[in-house]
Subunit: 347 residues, 2 copies
Amino acid sequence: MKKDSKTKSSKKLTDLGEFEVINQLTKDFINSNESTVLGVGDDAAVIDFNDNQILVSTDMMVEGVHFDLAYMPLKHLGYKAVVSNLSDIYSMNGICTQITVSIAVSNRFNLESLEELYLGIKTACKFYKVDLVGGDTTSSTKGLIISITAIGKAKSKAIVKRNGAKINDLIVVSGDIGSAYMGLQVLERENEVFKVNPANQPDLSDYTYLLKRQLKPEARKDIIDFFDKNKVIPTSMIDISDGLSSEIMHICKNSDIGCDIYEEKIPLSEELKSACDEFKLHPTTIALSGGEDYELLFTINQKDYEKIKKSNDLTVIGYITDSKNGINLVTKSEEKVPIISQGWKSF
Amino acid sequence: MKKDSKTKSSKKLTDLGEFEVINQLTKDFINSNESTVLGVGDDAAVIDFNDNQILVSTDMMVEGVHFDLAYMPLKHLGYKAVVSNLSDIYSMNGICTQITVSIAVSNRFNLESLEELYLGIKTACKFYKVDLVGGDTTSSTKGLIISITAIGKAKSKAIVKRNGAKINDLIVVSGDIGSAYMGLQVLERENEVFKVNPANQPDLSDYTYLLKRQLKPEARKDIIDFFDKNKVIPTSMIDISDGLSSEIMHICKNSDIGCDIYEEKIPLSEELKSACDEFKLHPTTIALSGGEDYELLFTINQKDYEKIKKSNDLTVIGYITDSKNGINLVTKSEEKVPIISQGWKSF
């Protein structure tokens, strides 16, 4: 993918002005939600929800802090920025219906590069049936900054917070975890190799799954649909954006409980295990501290276990205990080790 | 005001981590809207509106592009950032109820400086009865970036868009315009003087009103309340953030109509006129191109003129015509001059 194509038609943002840039970038977004009464183009969007509560989540991504355009194509960045916001709405057991996207860009970006970014945003909007209803486009003194606000809905009784986990509840995780972080390790290594020898053509075919998890993650709307279909309401839920250890600590602290998580139960991909061998890293450490998997971590009452079993993509990894027990990992050698948050920090 | 106080207690953001920073900054915000079911602290906020449509608006401000901390104290910046977003909700004839605030900061900021910023945000939230319900706090590679999303409500029949102006409608503006821009001119001049002689103590007492308009602008919630009380629904409305010329062009283009605006009717403050004399600038040019006044520009059916007259703070400045007439300023010498947008551009 061309990241900063300099063709004859390349347009400078300074020649276009803000309104033309917004028009150009959003002209072929199509709304798919009835609740979207008025979208981009006025002072505010208008949204109509009748019988639902509204969910709002917001997130900011800064070039050089959250992403590196050396290995993150702009289209993927746009997709991932949307996904990470949708994931926050799904983790409340809600459905995302609208987003706003604000960006600040330095003068090294042209219209084509922003169109790549918005192509990724549009692809995510289409896949997840979310409407872009507003935003702001401005210049920055350095780099690219993306701020997204996601708006969703849920029946009030279905909303799942972080504070509802109860003693003896089962702890469940969707998909597998750690692979997104390992994908980043692969990309960073290849970038170092590239710096030494730009002619080097890397063979990344062994890492396809890890790279997909890093570059084009998905949010687990399908799990929310599964809950709805199977009449399961988790007692607490969070999405895994900062690593399993950080997220389970949020649930435990907010619910004022403890937990035991079993190391042998943590779902890991085969690709993660083999890359960990190669990089001499411990897969459990990666799963605990990695982040950016956008899987769902939730707790359920034991009576719902039979329902959860219907999905091949959900794994019970432990259970909730009294807070006095603390927050622990039970290792494969059956030792209990307190979990310390080592999740990704933005400062 | 201390902008970057370096006292003994000064805390580095890197020592605190993201969650502690957010907790510290938002701990004494108090919600004042029943619709706020769940605020800061989970993956998403939860908002409940029953019989209303929801308005959403978003805005991004970048240091060095939208503001200069050399003359904008952080507390005022926080206040103004909120006001500029509320203004977008009011300009739809809605009431703002919640905001989310995301910030990215470089390592030259400490916790005390962010607390100053949030003190301004809190002051605005309290004054306008708006709840802070979420946000993101992260690091930037350069400067301060603020992204705010405002959420509001309105009865569907009361929502006023940019596209409803009709031929013969009156064009009305609230307050006076141009003073905010002139305040910026004063601040920039003093900053240049300060660079030459830092010992110089400027006497800014002649410019109090202009500086207030630039540093602590207000959004016109009172006008929305006036509309409600007097049963007036404008046919179109926009807030003046980029200058009168740019805003009237938005209304005309969206409504597919033209207009005549009378130069002599444009409301200007005495302080603006006298500063324009001093700076050798034309007040009409400043009013047309200035921006950041956050006054409301709207159109009404002539039958509502008697109602509008009840307010001393609303001025009829012209009327809507057929689109063939174009968008014109009728000068004091009765010449018709086409209005060209020279509003503030972010690129």
